[in-house]
Symmetry: C2
Subunit: 253 residues, 2 copies
């Protein structure tokens, strides 16, 4: 009943189990204690313990099947939304040196697709170059909805984390995202900014982000230099949030 500093009981149990996995108390391939044992050990109800191990399962650390004990699958934790959404938050969490710089920025009328996605007739487009360990690795072309444009324009050109800055300035929370990941050839601008040859491979992440209420905030086309970054997924036969999409990925901006 006592939540001890407002962190849920199941979160604290999950933290402790995670520490035990990372520290080798439960090696990869070994079995976790049963739910009943864990419930007794932590003095919690079985349902609470189940919530805790569900967290670990979602992180890809443990697997489970009816009738058998849970198994430790690995030690590398899959990471959070923020790290997929925000380059700065990802880089910081992983201890990288990083930077960013606005190259170009302008208001313009929304294209047809943009007015549908963002629900407005005027947009702010920003071209940013971001670096990792001092090397340019990412070209970001972000289109912001009109209702956040003013706040974005107030940011410094070398703003490290746009996500955090917008939260600080107008309380904006990026809550949901949809992402499409594929590969494209570098165009002339990409090539110049990233210091690669035209036509060389780039990893592209296109995303649309909304607030808690489902209000669209931005769509972005982010291109990483090949070899600088990869996306990692851990999944199980149960369910997972990733899907392939076929063909006809013609470019429409």
């Amino acid at each position: 009943m006592d939540r001890g500093g407002m962190v849920a009981r199941y979160e604290r149990i999950a933290d402790e189990l995670r520490r035990e996995i990372l520290s080798g108390v439960h090696p990869v391939g070994s079995q976790l204690p049963s739910e009943a044992e864990l419930a007794e050990r932590y003095g919690a109800a079985r349902g609470t313990v189940r919530q805790a191990v569900a967290v670990l399962a979602a992180e890809g650390l443990v697997g489970s099947r009816q009738g058998a004990r849970r198994i430790v699958l690995g030690r590398v934790r899959s990471q959070s939304f923020a790290e997929l959404h925000s380059f700065a938050q990802w880089a910081r969490a992983n201890g990288h040196r990083f930077g960013g710089q606005v190259i170009e920025q302008c208001r313009r009328p929304a294209s047809g697709a943009e007015s549908v996605k963002l629900g407005c007739e005027e947009v702010l487009e920003v071209l940013r170059l971001r670096s990792l360990e001092g090397e340019p690795v990412l070209v970001e072309r972000t289109v912001y909805a009109e209702w956040v444009a003013a706040a974005v324009e107030k940011l410094p050109a070398d703003c490290e984390s746009v996500t955090e800055a917008l939260y600080a300035s107008i309380g904006l929370v990026f809550a949901y995202g949809e992402h499409l990941i594929d590969a494209v050839a570098a165009g002339a601008v990409d090539a110049r900014l990233l210091g690669v040859r035209r036509g060389s491979p780039l990893l592209r992440q296109r995303r649309t982000t909304t607030t808690h209420e489902g209000r669209p905030v931005e769509t972005s086309d982010d291109r990483y230099r090949a070899g600088s970054v990869a996306f990692s997924i851990r999944n199980s036969i149960g369910a997972n949030p990733l899907a392939r999409q076929a063909g006809d990925l013609r470019f429409e901006r």
Copy 2:
């Protein structure tokens, strides 16, 4: 209590809600009924209803926050493990015409990295070319652990779904996967097989798959022609199984 054909109650509730979302009863952006209402409507406990909406949340269809009603985020359902793991199952589920052909196949000693990943000293390497709508789109370089090699060698060269064939022949279930997604330039072999120029961009998915028990089955390096396929992710600020990984992705096979 009656599970009616062994499908869980919460699954059937989730199915019905999903249908209502797809059919427009709950349009995108609208609020879902409260848990209490749903519990009454379905004559189920609140916990069961929560399990049902958790399914929809995992599929990216609805979002939730404490204190406010759940919101419908979209109508496109994120898909299952099988579709990320198996080209054939994905292609079939999405109504594509597809094919496959073994180009090369040989047994050889495992490299250092492979013997660690697969836990054996000899491996079977298979080079496959797969097509979508008659066009070659994917070069698959798969390395199988020694204990499945014999079963793989028995498959026909134009086997449509290796996953399904191995389940049929030896009851093998691919249960867990780890995937790394990035972009690379096409090598000479890739270029010839896919009919693109050398150096042109490819979307690469490297994966390692294990059984329910955590036993390694295969590692694979799959390369898609740019524009043929994209990976799609829906996520929320809560948690999700995707993460970026930085640099030094030098090729080690």
